[in-house]
Protein backbone atom coordinates (compact mmCIF):
# COMPACT_ATOMS: atom_id res chain seq x y z
CA UNK A 1 0.00 0.00 0.00
CA UNK A 2 1.29 3.47 -0.91
CA UNK A 3 1.77 5.38 2.33
CA UNK A 4 2.69 8.71 0.74
CA UNK A 5 -0.54 10.24 2.03
CA UNK A 6 0.30 9.17 5.57
CA UNK A 7 3.71 10.75 5.26
CA UNK A 8 2.26 14.03 3.95
CA UNK A 9 -0.24 14.14 6.79
CA UNK A 10 2.39 13.40 9.44
CA UNK A 11 4.77 16.04 8.10
CA UNK A 12 2.03 18.61 7.79
CA UNK A 13 0.95 18.05 11.37
CA UNK A 14 4.58 18.20 12.51
CA UNK A 15 4.87 21.56 10.83
CA UNK A 16 1.62 22.72 12.46
CA UNK A 17 0.06 23.54 9.10
CA UNK A 18 -3.71 23.22 8.73
CA UNK A 19 -4.93 21.05 5.88
CA UNK A 20 -6.73 23.93 4.22
CA UNK A 21 -3.62 26.13 4.38
CA UNK A 22 -1.38 23.52 2.78
CA UNK A 23 -4.05 22.83 0.16
CA UNK A 24 -4.28 26.52 -0.66
CA UNK A 25 -0.50 26.84 -0.88
CA UNK A 26 -0.28 24.08 -3.46
CA UNK A 27 -3.40 25.10 -5.34
CA UNK A 28 -5.69 22.19 -4.59
CA UNK A 29 -8.87 21.97 -2.58
CA UNK A 30 -8.75 20.97 1.07
CA UNK A 31 -11.06 18.02 0.34
CA UNK A 32 -8.70 16.79 -2.40
CA UNK A 33 -5.72 17.02 -0.04
CA UNK A 34 -7.80 15.12 2.50
CA UNK A 35 -8.34 12.31 -0.03
CA UNK A 36 -4.61 12.26 -0.79
CA UNK A 37 -3.70 12.11 2.88
CA UNK A 38 -6.02 9.15 3.38
CA UNK A 39 -4.61 7.27 0.43
CA UNK A 40 -7.71 7.65 -1.69
CA UNK A 41 -6.05 9.65 -4.44
CA UNK A 42 -2.59 9.13 -5.89
CA UNK A 43 -0.03 11.88 -5.59
CA UNK A 44 3.29 12.42 -7.26
CA UNK A 45 5.25 14.56 -9.66
CA UNK A 46 4.89 18.31 -9.46
CA UNK A 47 2.21 18.30 -6.78
CA UNK A 48 4.30 16.24 -4.38
CA UNK A 49 7.28 18.45 -5.07
CA UNK A 50 5.20 21.56 -4.25
CA UNK A 51 3.92 19.97 -1.04
CA UNK A 52 7.47 19.14 0.03
CA UNK A 53 8.65 22.67 -0.78
CA UNK A 54 5.74 24.21 1.13
CA UNK A 55 6.45 22.05 4.16
CA UNK A 56 10.16 22.84 3.81
CA UNK A 57 11.27 19.23 3.69
CA UNK A 58 13.22 17.00 1.35
CA UNK A 59 11.04 15.44 -1.33
CA UNK A 60 12.63 12.04 -0.66
CA UNK A 61 11.12 12.04 2.82
CA UNK A 62 7.64 12.04 1.31
CA UNK A 63 8.44 9.83 -1.63
CA UNK A 64 10.55 7.04 -0.27
CA UNK A 65 9.07 4.40 1.89
CA UNK A 66 11.29 3.49 4.79
CA UNK A 67 13.58 0.52 4.43
CA UNK A 68 11.23 -2.49 4.79
CA UNK A 69 13.76 -4.52 6.73
CA UNK A 70 14.07 -1.60 9.17
CA UNK A 71 10.29 -1.59 9.58
CA UNK A 72 10.39 -5.31 10.26
CA UNK A 73 13.08 -4.89 12.85
CA UNK A 74 11.09 -2.14 14.56
CA UNK A 75 7.92 -4.25 14.56
CA UNK A 76 9.86 -7.21 15.89
CA UNK A 77 11.32 -5.02 18.64
CA UNK A 78 7.79 -3.93 19.54
CA UNK A 79 6.49 -7.50 19.43
CA UNK A 80 9.10 -8.64 21.92
CA UNK A 81 7.65 -6.34 24.56
CA UNK A 82 3.89 -6.53 23.96
CA UNK A 83 3.21 -5.01 27.37
CA UNK A 84 4.50 -1.70 26.01
CA UNK A 85 1.90 -0.43 23.54
CA UNK A 86 3.44 1.19 20.49
CA UNK A 87 1.92 3.27 17.71
CA UNK A 88 2.35 0.49 15.17
CA UNK A 89 0.44 2.33 12.45
CA UNK A 90 3.03 5.11 12.52
CA UNK A 91 6.06 2.86 12.31
CA UNK A 92 6.98 3.89 8.80
CA UNK A 93 6.70 7.50 9.74
CA UNK A 94 8.93 6.91 12.75
CA UNK A 95 11.58 5.26 10.60
CA UNK A 96 11.51 8.05 8.03
CA UNK A 97 11.60 10.92 10.47
CA UNK A 98 13.91 9.67 13.18
CA UNK A 99 16.60 7.49 11.62
CA UNK A 100 18.84 7.98 14.64
CA UNK A 101 16.25 6.92 17.18
CA UNK A 102 15.06 3.99 15.09
CA UNK A 103 18.66 2.92 14.72
CA UNK A 104 18.96 2.98 18.49
CA UNK A 105 15.73 0.99 18.97
CA UNK A 106 16.73 -1.72 16.53
CA UNK A 107 20.31 -1.87 17.84
CA UNK A 108 19.00 -2.25 21.39
CA UNK A 109 16.54 -4.93 20.31
CA UNK A 110 19.39 -6.76 18.63
CA UNK A 111 21.50 -6.40 21.75
CA UNK A 112 18.68 -7.77 23.92
CA UNK A 113 18.27 -10.75 21.62
CA UNK A 114 21.95 -11.52 21.66
CA UNK A 115 22.01 -11.16 25.47
CA UNK A 116 19.02 -13.49 25.68
CA UNK A 117 20.87 -16.01 23.55
CA UNK A 118 23.96 -15.64 25.70
CA UNK A 119 21.89 -16.06 28.85
CA UNK A 120 20.25 -19.17 27.47
CA UNK A 121 23.63 -20.59 26.52
CA UNK A 122 25.10 -19.91 29.96
CA UNK A 123 22.02 -21.39 31.55
CA UNK A 124 22.40 -24.52 29.41
CA UNK A 125 26.02 -24.74 30.35
CA UNK A 126 25.23 -24.50 34.06
CA UNK A 127 22.64 -27.22 33.63
CA UNK A 128 24.51 -29.58 31.38
CA UNK A 129 28.21 -28.84 31.79
CA UNK A 130 29.69 -32.18 32.90
CA UNK A 131 32.66 -30.52 34.64
CA UNK A 132 30.40 -28.34 36.73
CA UNK A 133 28.04 -31.22 37.52
CA UNK A 134 30.98 -33.34 38.64
CA UNK A 135 32.36 -30.57 40.85
CA UNK A 136 28.99 -29.93 42.47
CA UNK A 137 28.49 -33.63 43.03
CA UNK A 138 31.88 -33.74 44.74
CA UNK A 139 30.90 -30.85 47.02
CA UNK A 140 27.59 -32.43 48.00
CA UNK A 141 29.21 -35.80 48.62
CA UNK A 142 31.90 -34.32 50.89
CA UNK A 143 29.38 -32.15 52.73
CA UNK A 144 27.08 -35.15 53.24
CA UNK A 145 29.88 -37.26 54.69
CA UNK A 146 31.10 -34.44 56.96
CA UNK A 147 27.62 -33.58 58.19
CA UNK A 148 26.67 -37.18 58.88
CA UNK A 149 29.99 -37.95 60.60
CA UNK A 150 29.97 -34.76 62.65
CA UNK A 151 26.42 -35.52 63.81
CA UNK A 152 27.56 -38.92 64.99
CA UNK A 153 30.52 -37.45 66.89
CA UNK A 154 28.55 -34.68 68.54
CA UNK A 155 25.37 -36.65 69.17
CA UNK A 156 24.17 -38.38 72.29
CA UNK A 157 24.77 -41.94 71.15
CA UNK A 158 27.83 -43.90 72.21
CA UNK A 159 30.89 -43.89 69.93
CA UNK A 160 33.87 -45.93 71.06
CA UNK A 161 37.43 -44.64 70.81
CA UNK A 162 38.33 -46.59 67.66
CA UNK A 163 35.32 -45.28 65.80
CA UNK A 164 35.97 -41.76 67.04
CA UNK A 165 39.50 -41.87 65.64
CA UNK A 166 38.22 -43.24 62.37
CA UNK A 167 35.52 -40.57 62.05
CA UNK A 168 38.01 -37.79 62.84
CA UNK A 169 40.24 -39.07 60.07
CA UNK A 170 37.26 -39.24 57.71
CA UNK A 171 36.29 -35.64 58.46
CA UNK A 172 39.84 -34.47 57.81
CA UNK A 173 39.84 -36.45 54.58
CA UNK A 174 36.49 -35.02 53.42
CA UNK A 175 37.44 -31.48 54.43
CA UNK A 176 40.52 -31.79 52.22
CA UNK A 177 38.39 -33.00 49.29
CA UNK A 178 35.91 -30.21 49.87
CA UNK A 179 38.65 -27.57 49.88
CA UNK A 180 40.11 -28.89 46.64
CA UNK A 181 36.73 -29.07 44.90
CA UNK A 182 35.79 -25.59 46.13
CA UNK A 183 39.00 -24.15 44.75
CA UNK A 184 38.34 -25.80 41.39
CA UNK A 185 34.77 -24.53 41.44
CA UNK A 186 35.82 -20.96 42.19
CA UNK A 187 38.41 -21.13 39.42
CA UNK A 188 35.73 -22.43 37.04
CA UNK A 189 33.19 -19.73 37.89
CA UNK A 190 35.78 -16.97 38.07
CA UNK A 191 36.95 -17.33 34.47
CA UNK A 192 35.32 -14.50 32.52
CA UNK A 193 37.99 -14.64 29.84
CA UNK A 194 37.33 -18.24 29.01
CA UNK A 195 35.93 -17.52 25.59
CA UNK A 196 35.09 -21.15 24.88
CA UNK A 197 32.36 -20.87 27.47
CA UNK A 198 30.77 -17.62 26.41
CA UNK A 199 31.21 -17.20 22.71
CA UNK A 200 28.99 -18.30 19.88
CA UNK A 201 28.52 -22.00 19.35
CA UNK A 202 31.02 -23.45 16.85
CA UNK A 203 28.34 -23.58 14.12
CA UNK A 204 27.36 -19.96 14.73
CA UNK A 205 31.00 -18.90 14.78
CA UNK A 206 31.64 -20.70 11.50
CA UNK A 207 28.61 -19.07 9.89
CA UNK A 208 29.83 -15.67 11.10
CA UNK A 209 33.16 -16.27 9.35
CA UNK A 210 31.50 -17.47 6.15
CA UNK A 211 29.00 -14.63 6.22
CA UNK A 212 31.80 -12.09 5.91
CA UNK A 213 32.53 -13.38 2.40
CA UNK A 214 28.95 -14.28 1.43
CA UNK A 215 29.85 -17.97 1.92
CA UNK A 216 32.26 -17.60 -1.01
CA UNK A 217 35.74 -19.14 -0.60
CA UNK A 218 38.05 -17.40 -3.11
CA UNK A 219 41.10 -19.57 -2.31
CA UNK A 220 39.17 -22.69 -3.30
CA UNK A 221 38.06 -21.14 -6.59
CA UNK A 222 41.49 -19.89 -7.59
CA UNK A 223 44.74 -21.48 -6.38
CA UNK A 224 46.49 -18.13 -6.77
CA UNK A 225 44.38 -16.70 -3.93
CA UNK A 226 45.85 -16.74 -0.44
CA UNK A 227 44.36 -19.29 1.93
CA UNK A 228 42.95 -17.55 5.02
CA UNK A 229 44.29 -18.37 8.48
CA UNK A 230 42.16 -21.06 10.10
CA UNK A 231 40.16 -19.93 13.15
CA UNK A 232 41.82 -20.45 16.52
CA UNK A 233 39.02 -22.53 18.05
CA UNK A 234 39.46 -26.14 17.07
CA UNK A 235 35.73 -26.85 16.84
CA UNK A 236 35.18 -23.89 14.50
CA UNK A 237 38.26 -24.79 12.44
CA UNK A 238 36.97 -28.36 12.05
CA UNK A 239 33.54 -27.19 10.90
CA UNK A 240 35.09 -24.73 8.46
CA UNK A 241 37.38 -27.45 7.11
CA UNK A 242 34.33 -29.66 6.52
CA UNK A 243 32.56 -26.80 4.70
CA UNK A 244 35.68 -26.23 2.59
CA UNK A 245 35.92 -29.92 1.73
CA UNK A 246 32.39 -29.92 0.31
CA UNK A 247 33.04 -26.54 -1.32
CA UNK A 248 36.18 -27.80 -3.08
CA UNK A 249 34.29 -30.81 -4.44
CA UNK A 250 31.53 -28.48 -5.66
CA UNK A 251 34.12 -26.26 -7.37
CA UNK A 252 35.73 -29.27 -9.06
CA UNK A 253 32.36 -30.40 -10.40
CA UNK A 254 31.12 -26.92 -11.29
CA UNK A 255 33.98 -24.52 -12.10
CA UNK A 256 32.92 -20.96 -11.48
CA UNK A 257 33.23 -19.40 -14.94
CA UNK A 258 31.09 -21.93 -16.81
CA UNK A 259 28.69 -22.19 -13.88
CA UNK A 260 28.06 -18.44 -13.81
CA UNK A 261 27.44 -18.45 -17.57
CA UNK A 262 24.95 -21.29 -17.27
CA UNK A 263 23.29 -19.73 -14.23
CA UNK A 264 22.83 -16.45 -16.07
CA UNK A 265 21.34 -18.24 -19.08
CA UNK A 266 18.84 -20.11 -16.94
CA UNK A 267 18.07 -17.22 -14.59
CA UNK A 268 19.55 -19.18 -11.69
CA UNK A 269 16.90 -21.91 -11.88
CA UNK A 270 18.53 -24.65 -9.79
CA UNK A 271 16.40 -27.48 -11.21
CA UNK A 272 17.19 -26.48 -14.80
CA UNK A 273 20.87 -26.08 -13.95
CA UNK A 274 21.06 -29.48 -12.27
CA UNK A 275 19.51 -31.09 -15.36
CA UNK A 276 21.68 -29.22 -17.82
CA UNK A 277 24.94 -29.69 -15.91
CA UNK A 278 24.20 -33.24 -14.80
CA UNK A 279 24.91 -32.45 -11.14
CA UNK A 280 23.01 -33.12 -7.91
CA UNK A 281 20.50 -30.42 -7.05
CA UNK A 282 21.91 -29.75 -3.58
CA UNK A 283 25.33 -29.10 -5.12
CA UNK A 284 23.86 -26.61 -7.60
CA UNK A 285 22.05 -24.89 -4.70
CA UNK A 286 25.24 -24.59 -2.65
CA UNK A 287 27.05 -23.21 -5.67
CA UNK A 288 24.35 -20.61 -6.41
CA UNK A 289 24.32 -19.45 -2.81
CA UNK A 290 28.09 -18.98 -2.60
CA UNK A 291 28.77 -17.04 -5.78
CA UNK A 292 30.64 -13.77 -5.27
CA UNK A 293 28.68 -10.51 -5.54
CA UNK A 294 30.79 -9.53 -8.55
CA UNK A 295 29.15 -12.33 -10.56
CA UNK A 296 26.18 -9.96 -10.73
CA UNK A 297 23.60 -12.67 -10.09
CA UNK A 298 20.75 -12.45 -7.56
CA UNK A 299 21.62 -12.96 -3.90
CA UNK A 300 20.48 -16.37 -2.65
CA UNK A 301 19.88 -17.57 0.89
CA UNK A 302 20.71 -21.12 1.85
CA UNK A 303 19.60 -23.29 4.72
CA UNK A 304 20.60 -26.83 5.61
CA UNK A 305 18.88 -28.82 8.31
CA UNK A 306 19.05 -32.34 9.68
CA UNK A 307 16.05 -34.68 9.87
CA UNK A 308 15.45 -33.39 13.39
CA UNK A 309 15.32 -29.81 12.14
CA UNK A 310 18.68 -28.80 13.63
CA UNK A 311 20.26 -26.07 11.52
CA UNK A 312 23.56 -27.08 9.93
CA UNK A 313 24.05 -23.95 7.86
CA UNK A 314 22.15 -20.71 7.52
CA UNK A 315 22.92 -18.02 5.00
CA UNK A 316 20.49 -15.14 5.13
CA UNK A 317 19.69 -13.11 2.06
CA UNK A 318 17.51 -10.19 1.09
CA UNK A 319 14.01 -10.94 2.38
CA UNK A 320 15.17 -14.15 4.04
CA UNK A 321 15.65 -13.31 7.70
CA UNK A 322 15.43 -16.85 9.03
CA UNK A 323 17.30 -17.38 12.29
CA UNK A 324 18.41 -20.52 14.08
CA UNK A 325 15.52 -20.05 16.48
CA UNK A 326 12.90 -20.05 13.73
CA UNK A 327 10.48 -22.91 13.99
CA UNK A 328 7.77 -22.68 11.32
CA UNK A 329 7.40 -26.21 9.93
CA UNK A 330 5.81 -25.02 6.68
CA UNK A 331 9.06 -24.01 5.01
CA UNK A 332 9.99 -26.27 2.09
CA UNK A 333 13.29 -27.16 3.79
CA UNK A 334 11.24 -29.20 6.27
CA UNK A 335 8.57 -30.54 3.93
CA UNK A 336 11.33 -31.82 1.62
CA UNK A 337 12.36 -34.21 4.40
CA UNK A 338 9.17 -36.15 3.78
CA UNK A 339 10.14 -37.05 0.21
CA UNK A 340 13.89 -37.46 -0.02
CA UNK A 341 15.40 -36.84 -3.42
CA UNK A 342 12.46 -34.89 -4.79
CA UNK A 343 12.69 -31.16 -5.24
CA UNK A 344 10.05 -29.20 -3.37
CA UNK A 345 9.49 -25.89 -5.08
CA UNK A 346 7.28 -23.20 -3.61
CA UNK A 347 6.75 -19.50 -3.69
CA UNK A 348 6.27 -18.50 -0.09
CA UNK A 349 4.81 -15.38 1.48
CA UNK A 350 6.43 -14.45 4.77
CA UNK A 351 3.76 -12.80 6.82
CA UNK A 352 4.82 -9.92 9.01
CA UNK A 353 7.80 -9.28 6.81
CA UNK A 354 6.11 -6.68 4.67
CA UNK A 355 4.59 -9.65 2.91
CA UNK A 356 7.84 -10.76 1.42
CA UNK A 357 7.68 -13.09 -1.47
CA UNK A 358 10.35 -15.73 -1.85
CA UNK A 359 11.10 -18.50 -4.29
CA UNK A 360 12.24 -21.64 -2.48
CA UNK A 361 13.68 -24.88 -3.78
CA UNK A 362 14.44 -27.62 -1.30
CA UNK A 363 15.72 -31.15 -1.56
CA UNK A 364 16.53 -33.74 1.10
CA UNK A 365 19.42 -36.06 0.44
CA UNK A 366 19.97 -39.32 2.29
CA UNK A 367 23.60 -40.26 2.93
CA UNK A 368 24.18 -43.96 3.62
CA UNK A 369 24.86 -44.74 7.25
CA UNK A 370 28.43 -46.04 7.71
CA UNK A 371 27.06 -48.73 10.03
CA UNK A 372 25.41 -50.41 7.08
CA UNK A 373 22.15 -50.48 5.15
CA UNK A 374 20.19 -51.65 8.19
CA UNK A 375 20.94 -48.34 9.95
CA UNK A 376 18.95 -45.20 9.11
CA UNK A 377 20.48 -42.96 6.45
CA UNK A 378 21.63 -39.51 7.53
CA UNK A 379 19.27 -36.96 5.99
CA UNK A 380 20.21 -33.43 5.13
CA UNK A 381 17.69 -31.04 3.62
CA UNK A 382 19.00 -28.07 1.65
CA UNK A 383 16.89 -25.06 0.67
CA UNK A 384 17.80 -22.28 -1.74
CA UNK A 385 15.91 -19.01 -1.31
CA UNK A 386 15.61 -16.03 -3.60
CA UNK A 387 13.59 -12.88 -3.21
CA UNK A 388 10.82 -12.34 -5.77
CA UNK A 389 10.11 -8.81 -6.97
CA UNK A 390 6.33 -9.18 -7.32
CA UNK A 391 4.06 -9.18 -4.25
CA UNK A 392 2.63 -12.49 -2.99
CA UNK A 393 -0.48 -13.79 -4.72
CA UNK A 394 -3.19 -16.15 -3.45
CA UNK A 395 -1.18 -19.14 -4.65
CA UNK A 396 1.85 -18.23 -2.56
CA UNK A 397 2.31 -20.50 0.43
CA UNK A 398 2.00 -18.55 3.68
CA UNK A 399 4.88 -19.26 6.07
CA UNK A 400 6.21 -17.56 9.18
CA UNK A 401 9.39 -17.41 11.15
CA UNK A 402 8.18 -18.59 14.54
CA UNK A 403 4.72 -19.22 16.01
CA UNK A 404 5.35 -16.72 18.79
CA UNK A 405 5.92 -13.95 16.28
CA UNK A 406 3.36 -14.98 13.67
CA UNK A 407 -0.04 -13.29 13.55
CA UNK A 408 -1.77 -15.92 11.35
CA UNK A 409 -4.53 -17.45 13.42
CA UNK A 410 -5.83 -19.87 10.81
CA UNK A 411 -2.59 -21.82 10.52
CA UNK A 412 -2.81 -25.61 10.76
CA UNK A 413 0.84 -25.73 11.84
CA UNK A 414 0.40 -23.40 14.81
CA UNK A 415 1.93 -24.91 17.96
CA UNK A 416 1.56 -22.06 20.42
CA UNK A 417 -0.16 -18.69 20.53
CA UNK A 418 1.52 -15.59 19.20
CA UNK A 419 2.93 -13.39 21.92
CA UNK A 420 1.72 -10.03 20.67
CA UNK A 421 -1.70 -9.50 19.20
CA UNK A 422 -0.28 -6.52 17.39
CA UNK A 423 -2.76 -4.74 15.19
CA UNK A 424 -1.03 -3.68 12.05
Amino acid sequence: MDRTGDRIRARRMDAGVAQRDLAAAVDISASYLNLIEHGKRPVGGQLLRRIAATLGIDLALLERPADPSLIDRLLAASARLPQVPTEVAQVEDLAARFPGWTGLITAQAQEIMSLDDRLQMLNDRLTYDPDLAKALHGVITAVTAIQSTATILTGDGPVDADWQARFHANIRDDAGKLAATSRALVAYLDAPDDLERTRLSPLEARDAILNASGYHRPHLEDPAQLEPEPPARQGVADLLARYDEVYAADVAALPIASFVTAARALDCDPVGLAARLGQPLDRVMRRLASLPAKAGLPDHGLMQVTASGAVLLLKQAAGFDMTRGSDCALWPVYTALGQAGRCVTARVAVHGQNDRHLQCHAVAVAAPNPLGPHAPPVMTSTMLVRSLPEPPDPLSLPVGLACRMCPRDDCAARREPAVPATQL
Binding site: L136, H137, I140, T141, V143, T144, A145, Q147, S148, T149, T151, I152, G155, G157, P158, V159, D160, W163, R166, F167, N170, D173, D174
Partner: protein
Protein backbone atom coordinates in the same frame (compact mmCIF):
# COMPACT_ATOMS: atom_id res chain seq x y z
CA UNK B 1 29.25 -56.26 57.79
CA UNK B 2 29.29 -53.26 60.09
CA UNK B 3 28.61 -53.41 63.79
CA UNK B 4 28.96 -50.19 65.70
CA UNK B 5 28.57 -51.86 69.03
CA UNK B 6 26.41 -54.62 70.25
CA UNK B 7 23.32 -52.88 71.54
CA UNK B 8 20.94 -55.61 70.64
CA UNK B 9 20.96 -58.87 72.45
CA UNK B 10 19.60 -60.94 69.58
CA UNK B 11 21.41 -59.96 66.43
CA UNK B 12 19.99 -62.89 64.50
CA UNK B 13 16.64 -61.10 64.45
CA UNK B 14 18.08 -57.82 63.28
CA UNK B 15 16.68 -56.52 60.00
CA UNK B 16 19.22 -56.47 57.19
CA UNK B 17 19.91 -53.30 55.22
CA UNK B 18 22.01 -53.40 52.07
CA UNK B 19 23.70 -50.06 51.40
CA UNK B 20 24.78 -49.66 47.78
CA UNK B 21 26.99 -46.55 47.73
CA UNK B 22 30.47 -45.80 46.48
CA UNK B 23 31.68 -43.01 48.77
CA UNK B 24 33.67 -44.71 51.55
CA UNK B 25 33.10 -42.09 54.22
CA UNK B 26 29.36 -41.97 53.61
CA UNK B 27 29.36 -45.77 53.78
CA UNK B 28 31.08 -45.65 57.16
CA UNK B 29 28.78 -42.99 58.60
CA UNK B 30 25.54 -44.59 57.37
CA UNK B 31 26.66 -48.06 58.38
CA UNK B 32 27.51 -46.82 61.83
CA UNK B 33 24.23 -45.07 62.51
CA UNK B 34 22.10 -47.91 61.11
CA UNK B 35 24.08 -50.53 63.02
CA UNK B 36 23.75 -48.51 66.16
CA UNK B 37 20.01 -48.33 65.50
CA UNK B 38 19.96 -52.10 65.51
CA UNK B 39 20.18 -53.07 61.85
CA UNK B 40 22.63 -55.41 60.26
CA UNK B 41 24.27 -53.43 57.47
CA UNK B 42 25.93 -54.89 54.41
CA UNK B 43 27.53 -52.69 51.82
CA UNK B 44 28.31 -52.84 48.15
CA UNK B 45 30.09 -50.26 46.02
CA UNK B 46 29.78 -51.35 42.40
CA UNK B 47 26.75 -50.79 40.20
CA UNK B 48 27.54 -53.54 37.72
CA UNK B 49 27.48 -56.40 40.26
CA UNK B 50 24.84 -54.93 42.56
CA UNK B 51 22.03 -57.23 41.37
CA UNK B 52 24.09 -60.37 42.19
CA UNK B 53 24.78 -59.02 45.62
CA UNK B 54 21.09 -58.29 46.22
CA UNK B 55 20.03 -61.78 45.11
CA UNK B 56 22.65 -63.39 47.35
CA UNK B 57 22.06 -61.22 50.38
CA UNK B 58 18.27 -61.11 50.32
CA UNK B 59 18.21 -57.94 52.46
CA UNK B 60 15.07 -56.53 54.08
CA UNK B 61 15.63 -53.24 52.32
CA UNK B 62 18.08 -51.42 50.11
CA UNK B 63 19.57 -47.96 50.42
CA UNK B 64 20.52 -47.25 46.84
CA UNK B 65 22.72 -44.40 45.60
CA UNK B 66 21.99 -43.05 42.11
CA UNK B 67 25.50 -42.27 40.89
CA UNK B 68 27.43 -45.52 41.07
CA UNK B 69 30.40 -46.77 39.11
CA UNK B 70 29.41 -49.08 36.29
CA UNK B 71 25.66 -48.75 36.47
CA UNK B 72 23.28 -46.11 37.78
CA UNK B 73 20.98 -46.66 40.73
CA UNK B 74 18.01 -46.04 38.42
CA UNK B 75 19.06 -48.98 36.21
CA UNK B 76 19.44 -51.22 39.25
CA UNK B 77 16.02 -50.15 40.53
CA UNK B 78 14.50 -50.92 37.14
CA UNK B 79 15.98 -54.46 37.25
CA UNK B 80 14.81 -54.93 40.82
CA UNK B 81 11.24 -54.11 39.95
CA UNK B 82 11.30 -56.29 36.84
CA UNK B 83 12.47 -59.37 38.76
CA UNK B 84 9.56 -61.06 40.62
CA UNK B 85 11.91 -62.18 43.39
CA UNK B 86 12.90 -58.59 44.21
CA UNK B 87 9.98 -56.57 42.91
CA UNK B 88 8.58 -55.98 46.42
CA UNK B 89 11.89 -55.19 48.08
CA UNK B 90 11.70 -51.79 49.81
CA UNK B 91 14.14 -49.32 48.26
CA UNK B 92 15.21 -45.89 49.41
CA UNK B 93 17.04 -43.92 46.73
CA UNK B 94 19.93 -41.83 47.92
CA UNK B 95 21.24 -39.14 45.65
CA UNK B 96 23.13 -35.90 45.47
CA UNK B 97 20.85 -34.73 42.72
CA UNK B 98 17.70 -33.51 44.38
CA UNK B 99 16.12 -32.29 41.18
CA UNK B 100 12.43 -32.83 40.67
CA UNK B 101 12.96 -34.94 37.56
CA UNK B 102 15.20 -37.38 39.44
CA UNK B 103 12.62 -37.77 42.13
CA UNK B 104 9.90 -38.26 39.53
CA UNK B 105 12.02 -40.88 37.77
CA UNK B 106 12.72 -42.70 41.05
CA UNK B 107 9.00 -42.73 41.83
CA UNK B 108 8.09 -43.88 38.34
CA UNK B 109 10.56 -46.74 38.60
CA UNK B 110 9.07 -47.80 41.91
CA UNK B 111 11.29 -46.38 44.65
CA UNK B 112 9.59 -46.41 48.06
CA UNK B 113 11.52 -43.44 49.41
CA UNK B 114 13.84 -40.77 48.11
CA UNK B 115 16.51 -39.16 50.29
CA UNK B 116 18.50 -36.19 49.06
CA UNK B 117 22.10 -35.61 50.11
CA UNK B 118 23.13 -34.01 52.37
CA UNK B 119 20.71 -35.85 54.66
CA UNK B 120 20.16 -35.80 58.41
CA UNK B 121 21.14 -39.03 60.15
CA UNK B 122 17.97 -39.07 62.25
CA UNK B 123 15.86 -38.73 59.15
CA UNK B 124 17.53 -41.68 57.46
CA UNK B 125 17.01 -43.84 60.57
CA UNK B 126 13.40 -42.72 60.88
CA UNK B 127 12.66 -43.54 57.24
CA UNK B 128 14.33 -46.95 57.45
CA UNK B 129 12.31 -47.67 60.61
CA UNK B 130 9.14 -46.57 58.85
CA UNK B 131 9.87 -48.87 55.94
CA UNK B 132 10.94 -52.10 57.66
CA UNK B 133 10.39 -51.52 61.37
CA UNK B 134 13.00 -51.53 64.07
Amino acid sequence: MYMASDHRGDRALAKRVLLIEDEPNIIEALSFILSRAGYTVHTHEDGTTAMDKIRNQRPDMILLDVMLPGRSGFDILRDLRADPSTSDLPVMMLTARGQAKDRALAEALGADQFMTKPFANDEVCAQVRAMIGA
